[in-house]
Symmetry: C2
Subunit: 103 residues, 2 copies
Amino acid sequence: MRQIKHPTIEQVELTDIMYALSDPTRLEIIMLLAQAGRKLTCGEINLNRPKSSMSHHFKILRSAGLVETLIEGTEHMNSLRLEEVESKYPGVLNAVIKAATKS
Amino acid sequence: MRQIKHPTIEQVELTDIMYALSDPTRLEIIMLLAQAGRKLTCGEINLNRPKSSMSHHFKILRSAGLVETLIEGTEHMNSLRLEEVESKYPGVLNAVIKAATKS
DNA sequence: TCTATTGTTCGAATATAATAGAACTATAGA
DNA sequence: TCTATAGTTCTATTATATTCGAACAATAGA
């Protein structure tokens, strides 16, 4: 079963993370993953956009080290890399999630 | 003495802040202001770029609610709006500054 | 009033990003 | 083997950002 390549957390720059979180659609994806607390397929994250657009945003979230995508059958299971990101950049992602929850 | 207009902290979106912080030059400006702990003129923040470029980045930092610029004579005194940003989005800016300090 | 200083604004070139339809890939299941 | 499903990749279009020289504006000081 072929899997998608992800950066190690060491390879991820802080500005990559900031950039990934600067788009409302991507921030919404992050929020849905954070609230779900479990892996979600791309299909479950339905923001009424073409799948090619969603795929583009997932790619950026992956390259920023924020999301891990595991292929299971025909589905792609997405989860937050919260612990890893927190260990490299303590407080950043948690604070953003908390801030976005309220707004 | 004419002053520059700034957004109120209520007007600032989280994604605006993320976007402003996603550029390495702008993050560096933020770091210099945070480390200085006092107001700095644009001239003191010398990143070896044309002043029109720096002015552009300051404009984005201002519009994101991160920087306040007060005109004093011919100089523009810049400071972080840390307390305000923290009160609206607790932990976000502090965590980013801490994370950027180490990297 | 003239000049130097500080920074903004303008304008144009270049680069990067977002959007989305269409074609494609991989797998599951009949 | 055929078909449906889930996403990705390709390609083109449009929009937004970055960069920086040049012109401009505001003030201080001589």
